[in-house]
Amino acid sequence: MIKTRPSSRPFLFPACLIFVCASIFSLHSNASPHRQQGQSNEELAVLPGEIGRSGGRLVVALRDEPKTLNPLTAADSPSREVIAAMQSDLIHINRATQLTEPGLAKSWKISPDGLRYTLTLRKGLRFSDGHPLDADDVLFTFRVNLDEKLHAAQRDLLTVGGKPITVRKIDAQTLVFQLAKPDGVEERLFDGIAILPRHLLEKPYEEGKLGQLWAPSTPPKEWAGLGPFRLKGYVPGQKLVLERNPYYWKTDARGNRLPYLNELDFLFVPSADAQVLRFQSGETDLITRLSAENFSVLLRQQRGSTMVDAGPGLEFNFLFFNLNDLGDKSSPEMARKQKWFRDVKFRQAVSAAIDRQAIVRLVYQGRGTALWAPVTPGDRRWVDASIPHPPRSLERARALLKEANFSWSSSSNGDPTLLDSDGKPVEFSVLSSSSNADRTKMATLIQDDLKQLGMHVQIVPIEFRSLVDRLTQTMQYDACVQGLASFDTDPNSDLNVWLSSGGIHLWNPSQAHPATPWEAEIDRLMEKQLSTPGYQQRKKLYDRVQEILAENQPMIFLASPDILVGAKSTLANIHPAVLEPYLLWNVEQLYFRNGAEAPSR
């Protein structure tokens, strides 16, 4: 799967935050005398919800080793997943409500023109090494994130209207952020910007070594963060061990300082099937990103665990054709094929002939949703409910093909062959990633669907890296089944998919000028929503983008799988979200009932 935004939003935050001043907090401070108490000058966040018991070790499998613990350079998803448990941001997007809530900043104000953001930090917070946090750490964080030499993944998020955001310190608790143009995402901008410890990083930064800093093998003493867990140890090829951050800035409703767990272990288990086996044997306590098949195996066989279908996620799968301008590289055969592919009626006919319900039933065992537009029902704020969901209709497909001057040969046996206006048979190949069984299955179903229109389709499963190479470098392909998953619900996280100049505008990436009027229109709408403040106005613009996509079918949207997760029944406070990290987003609140934590190994 191609992820749309390698930079984004790794951060966690609890379901609902209630703010209380220190005096109210102190009313609760006697509730649990054995836990470390907040001092009266600390402005801690208090989370509602089930009160847990402390202790225990949570073991989680990770697909790959994290390449780095440095939020500035982390681009791979294992790194981001680990960093999310170790760092905090100023304002956070709650993964369950998909709305923003205060993080390290206890409040914020946006000026009426949308250009100035005033943030107030919580008082008395400390990094995981005990060093206090103040506005200078925030200044430092934004300085390094915006440093061109460091190529921080977040840099383009913090560049609004072509100019980097400027940050000014008013006092030890107050900061002012100045933008060149209003930003449509507003305060969501701050999600995922981990606040870094200046006292540890300023010297290496001045020496130019910051980019290489904080590999997983870093000694715990040289690392500090503001997240619920801090670094304890790293065994190459095996696991990364995190321990409870005693200075974490959240408590439960009784005033117990979070997180409940003493230890969080990330095991490196590369294949999805191996992760299922580890979970079955009880070696790991929870499992995410399950395929529908593995989910039903666990549902049938696994006792003592809770399996949850959290509903549609953000991943959307689609079929698309090669619409690139191949220029000199184009062969006469390819030119003939592209003549069909460029015909919107041809694409609409293919879309009408595809049995999306069969894809949902056979590929996802019913645990998925058919799609006619890129935004899935899992993205509650941005899905366009007015997009029609026409059922499969071969008649309509045939009528569309007839209108586009296709005809059928009368063959003596079996299905007739579809011929184009020059009398040549319609044959093409569909690439899919050989490591993704789901998409190869989709291609097999589409092959059978299109056979009924007289199209001869061959499926070519190839290795993922050479697939990406064909899609973005050599452009040597006819059609392809692929999927994308955004990290955030906001349309801006998919900018480089829909803008014609975008790198994963898959059907025709990185165009100098939009090739078609409707791509130009999408460009215009996306640019406009970028600087339009206010959800309602932006939603209108993005709905129009979805309608243009649904009508022109540059991607024929197929289906979206549900987020399928499982956890040991003894693990409490599990609230699966459809955003990553699906189960660990509220890791500070997870706890084991009855002291049933994982036995030490």
Binding site: S296, R361, L445, D448, Q458
Partner: protein, 350 residues
Amino acid sequence: MPLRSFTKWLVVLLVLHGVIAAAGFFAPYSPIEQDRDRPYLPPMRLHFFDTQGHFHFRPFFHPLRLRESAFDQYEESTSTAIPLHFFVRGASYHLLGILPMRFHLFGASDARICLLGTDAFGRDQLSRILYGGQVSLLAGLLGAGVTLFLGALIGIVAGYYAGWRDELLMRVAELFLALPWLYLLFALRAFLPLSVSPLEAFLLVVVVIGLVGWARPARLVRGVVLSVKERDFVRAARGFGASHLYLLRRHILPETASVLLTQAAILVPQFILAEMTLSFLGLGIPEPISSWGNLLASLQNYSVLVSYWWMYLPALAIIPFFLGYLGLASSLQERPAAYKIVEKKSWNPS
């Protein structure tokens, strides 16, 4: 006795290959026909006794119904019994690739009968195994043919002409023997174009596996040729002025026949396995055409491995073929002595 065991194995193999060659007749359905309402249907049971315990001469089956809100859980609806019919008309096919026919060995009029269950797309597993056998066996046989032809040619040239040609060819052969041939198959297949039609893919597989295995038969043939060409009757013929071609055809080639036959019986199952390996890894025959290798490919998923035991059946299908070929090979190895005596008696140099 060796002759009788040879005939016995030959008959067994002919019957097995006959069934596969006439797959269209023995398979009740087309191997690519999807039944999207019945994925992973377990093998259906044939009944002779109904619910009252009465015996029926004609076997019948109960259609399977999907359980409420389940994906792959079926139950027999015992209220309806559908009799099995023989020699029914069904999907059209070409017997042995030529004769257009519609008759199938068995079938039923109202519902699909899937004796070995269905796969992820509701395709009949029995039909897919039978049709898949055509691909795998043909690839094995043709691959062995290519290998033996190459091996015999190279072995004869090396053995008969000797000298530097022998040296060169045998060093190349040793190089080939030393190569890990499975990885060579992967490398060869990876160089070739990815997007090919099923027929092209099939020919590619045949050529690829045919090209890899020539070294062993070539060395064996060379050994035989080296010893035969010094035998008295060959020297005599050469003394009478026989040409190279005549000597090879009349005196030397017949002597290599038993070696080549034994090699063939060993190589065919090896090459069937090679085709299966390639298809299993997705480098062989593409979907929706079935072969024994890509039928097994779904077992790479853990969930299929633990949930649907009938997906293992294609692996069982190869066992009788392997036994047949190995039996044939061992009976052939016992034969050479008899072969030579017969040969000498029938051909009397005058």
